[in-house]
């Protein structure tokens, strides 16, 4: 299993899953700050969502290490979650840009 080329290719991600967890913690912290503001509830939900997605990716990588018999399924889940996190970020940016444009048009 150690000589599996897929495991070797995914090794950087597996070994650095702590960084993915740290990124999730960062999003939870940012979400916590947003909750403190008056109108930050919706933005906080976005930050918590991204944090949860990143935690899922890190857990899937944990599972890939702890349960080698699971095959590629945990790795595929981790990649899917990571790619989805980027989609959420793009959605957030587009939402912010749309709101800014709306503000500019209305005010």
């Amino acid at each position: 299993m150690v000589d599996d080329p897929i495991r070797l290719a995914m090794a950087p991600l597996i070994q650095n899953r702590g960084w993915i967890r740290a990124l999730a913690v960062l999003h939870f912290v940012l979400g916590g700050f947003m909750v403190l503001t008056v109108v930050g509830g919706l933005v906080a939900a976005y930050f918590f969502w991204v944090g949860a997605v990143l935690i899922q990716a890190a857990r899937a990588l944990d599972r890939a290490v702890q349960v080698p018999a699971a095959g590629d399924a945990p790795l595929e889940l981790a990649m899917e979650r990571l790619a989805f996190h980027f989609l959420l970020q793009v959605g957030f940016l587009m939402g912010c840009a749309g709101l800014a444009l709306l503000w500019r048009l209305l005010m």
Binding site: I6, M10, P12, N16, L26, M79, Q89
Partner: protein, 157 residues
């Protein structure tokens, strides 16, 4: 006289075995290619969004630079470094899809890890900086003998 070995049937989902006497190179390579492409698929399916994200971040940094917003230069440099890593990861994912080999996938995951590290350092660095600046401001307001009005007058020269 020993009886011949019983034929073993394939289980559902099990890849086909090569005929006896032939090396298992071709099926193994095809299977590896399939596994590699399956791992790269989520990123390739969203590559337009992710590359758009890179372009938007780069444009924002360029806008700061053109406006002469030098205060955010370090921030912008870190953002651009992270986005370059992400861009290179996407390029490697595309190479993975084309070649079906594990080496571009390894390169892609390495660049992805770089992006994650840059983002974490950037995020926590910004939070720390904001905490320090807030602390300094609070200290100046409470111990420096400057009220909000005096501070505002000082800020405006």
């Amino acid at each position: 006289m020993p009886s011949p070995p019983l034929p073993r049937f394939r289980r559902p989902g099990e890849p086909p075995r090569p005929p006896a006497g032939l090396p298992p190179t071709l099926p193994a390579r095809a299977e590896l290619s399939l596994r590699v492409r399956r791992l790269a698929a989520p990123f390739l399916a969203r590559q337009g969004w992710i590359l758009g994200f890179c372009a938007a971040g780069a444009l924002q940094s360029l806008y700061d630079l053109v406006r002469g917003n030098w205060a955010s230069l370090v921030l912008d440099a870190t953002i651009v470094a992270a986005l370059v890593s992400l861009w290179r990861a996407m390029w490697a994912f595309r190479q993975t899809a084309v070649t079906g080999q594990a080496l571009p996938l390894a390169r892609a995951t390495a660049h992805l890890v770089k992006y994650v590290r840059f983002t974490v350092v950037l995020g926590f660095g910004t939070l720390t900086l904001m905490a320090v600046l807030t602390g300094v401001l609070v200290w100046v307001l409470s111990h420096g003998g400057m009220g909000p009005a005096a501070l505002q007058a000082w800020a405006h020269g």
